[in-house]
């Protein structure tokens, strides 16, 4: 656990849902929430707060794109049933929000932040960039997408600075990966990244000596508050390692804390597992 939980569980109302490139931008009104820091997320559940068996059963973690008073915005991609149903929300519909949750990105002027986002990893970095700008902190923003059609222009237009855009199809911004743009000698900064696993792995390879690096990770979640132990990643503890929860000790981790564990965990005594 890292610190007290500042989250609340509240009913939210859908204010607007609109397409933005490949994504959906969902604006919700939900009073009574603590303010969010960039990197924080909400667990979002469909339906009224009174539903006895919500469908889908589990809430879905979604990074905060923006949180301003009673208004929470997220930007999401449809990848399965939950996001499909969320994309069918209509203004006035009720949703359930649990949050803000998780350890956010750090915010400091030195070393200079370099925000690297890929695909659905972009939203929390949009929030971070806006906040850094508001605080007068100079920073770089590199966002990568598969295709020019994916780019969530409306969300990006709210940033105080133009992000450097990379697309694999080359029809927007620079052709190729964000990571490639960071290869070679550079001044060490503070990489703050969120995106697909392979992107994060590639980033580690272009890291400058001594460069600070924060990575926001994703895992399947049930509780979002650190007590189901469903969403773990191995982190170093001296010579050894332990599982940390992505929902509570993350989603933002210091890259130096994360370890690769080949054996992938202790072998449960049972070959087949149904023990909790």
């Amino acid at each position: 656990m890292s610190g007290e939980l500042s989250a609340a569980y509240r009913s939210g109302r859908v204010r607007a849902l609109k397409r933005d490139g490949l994504y959906y931008h969902l604006s919700m009104e939900a009073p009574g929430l603590a303010p969010s820091e960039p990197g924080a997320f909400f667990m979002i559940g469909l339906g009224e707060i009174e539903s006895p068996a919500p469908d889908p059963l589990l809430m879905r973690p979604m990074s905060v794109l923006n949180h301003d008073g009673d208004f929470v915005d997220i930007l999401f991609k449809v990848v399965g049933r939950g996001t499909e149903l969320l994309a069918a929300a209509e203004p006035g519909d009720s949703l359930r929000l649990l949050g803000p949750l998780g350890r956010p990105f750090s915010r400091a002027a030195q070393p200079q932040p370099i925000l690297v986002g890929g695909g659905a990893g972009v939203p929390p970095l949009c929030f971070l960039s806006r906040r850094l700008s508001a605080e007068g902190i100079a920073h770089r923003v590199l966002f990568g997408f598969n295709s020019a059609d994916d780019v969530p222009d409306s969300a990006l237009s709210k940033l105080s600075q133009e992000p450097e855009i990379f697309t694999l199809d080359g029809r927007r911004g620079q052709k190729g990966h964000t990571v490639a743009a960071l290869a070679g000698d550079r001044e060490a900064g503070r990489i703050q990244a969120c995106g697909p696993g392979p992107m994060l792995e590639a980033l580690k390879k272009v890291r400058q000596p001594g460069e600070a690096m924060e990575l926001s990770l994703e895992e399947r979640m049930a509780c979002g508050m650190g007590f189901c132990r469903g969403c773990v990643r191995p982190v170093a503890t001296g010579d050894d390692w332990r599982y940390a929860t992505v929902c509570r000790e993350g989603p933002v981790f210091d890259a130096d804390d994360l370890v690769d564990v080949n054996e992938a965990g202790e072998v449960c005594l049972q070959e087949e597992g149904s023990c909790g």
Binding site: Y9, M59, F227, C228, G273, S274
Partner: protein, 305 residues
């Protein structure tokens, strides 16, 4: 407003709603979203003698009205539990039931002895849905003799209430409940998760390293109700119901089936507002029916027999 007090498994609970083992951590993580003092009792994550890291991810999958978990009993181990987790529960206004698991009757008894030294431990719940190392990994809870042996070993060293948690993955759960009764258990907790699995149709494989996993949630409520009823109708040993309860109605179904109290598991993930709502709805239901307490409702059910 109606009084929700119950006597369950040898404990006086201010209400019949408990947090199920593994679904509320060590009791404090969800505070204040789910205040621990809401519950009549809290069953801790299962503690083992040594710490356990548990299984690799993915540890979760969603199913129709249910979920699969393959946590692998990750826990801090008994020492850390006694040093860090238990003392933090001092001021919680709920009974504390410590769930324990071990590889043999002897190990179970050793844990129980150490836990008996701590006054904050109101009861033990023996999680036997775990492999018997000596018997080639056969689940203790599938073997009445093993259940009896472990129960007796713990009973000798632990005088406060002892609950034994049963697995639904058996041919005859009442046979196992009788073994728990013979061992002197104060109650059986029914049920643990159902053996289940999921498949990724691209790889053709289970997403879980251990292949199978435990099924919980509203999907299993009918199975849990049948298990509780089958145990309760023999009249031998009290039951604590668990499995798929997600509303006051679900909780009442367990009580009608014969449970003395009911644990909430998966619903604490899917709807953290459920505990407060269930308490409110329970009281409203009793008030509306003119009952001042749960016993009065139970009597009414009996009269209609």
């Amino acid at each position: 407003m109606a009084d929700l007090l119950v006597f369950a498994g040898g404990l006086e609970l201010k209400n019949p709603m408990l947090a199920a083992s593994g679904c509320f951590g060590y009791g404090l993580e969800a505070d204040p979203v789910i205040p621990p003092s809401l519950f009549g009792g809290i069953v801790t994550k299962t503690i083992t003698p040594a710490p356990r890291r548990g299984n690799p991810v993915p540890r979760l999958a969603e199913t129709h009205a249910g979920m699969l978990n393959s946590i692998g009993l990750e826990n801090v181990g008994l020492d850390a539990f006694l040093a860090d987790k238990l003392p933090a529960l001092e001021d919680v206004d709920s009974k504390i039931v410590v769930s324990v698991s071990a590889g043999s009757a002897g190990e179970f008894a050793e844990m129980a002895e150490r836990l008996a030294e701590h006054a904050r431990v109101d009861a033990l719940e023996l999680n036997l849905s775990c492999p018997n190392v000596a018997e080639h990994g056969r689940n203790f809870a599938a073997d009445p003799a093993a259940v009896a042996a472990i129960g007796k070993a713990v009973r000798r060293v632990f005088a406060r209430p002892m609950w034994i948690k049963l697995s639904p993955n058996v041919t005859d759960i009442s046979e196992v409940a009788r073994a728990a009764q013979d061992a002197g258990a104060d109650a059986v907790t029914a049920i643990n998760t159902l053996l289940g699995m999921d498949i990724n149709i691209d790889s053709g494989k289970s997403p879980f390293a251990r292949v199978t996993a435990g099924l919980s949630g509203p999907a299993i409520l009918p199975v849990a109700l049948a298990a509780v009823w089958r145990i309760a109708r023999e009249g031998g040993i009290p039951t604590i119901g668990v499995g798929g309860a997600s509303s006051a109605k679900g909780l009442l179904k367990f009580l009608a089936a014969g449970a003395e109290a009911v644990q909430l598991g998966t619903v604490l993930f899917s709807d953290p507002g459920a505990p407060q709502r269930i308490l409110d709805d329970l009281a409203t239901h009793l008030d509306a029916q003119g009952h001042t307490n749960l016993n009065s409702l139970r009597e009414q059910w009996k009269e209609q027999a």
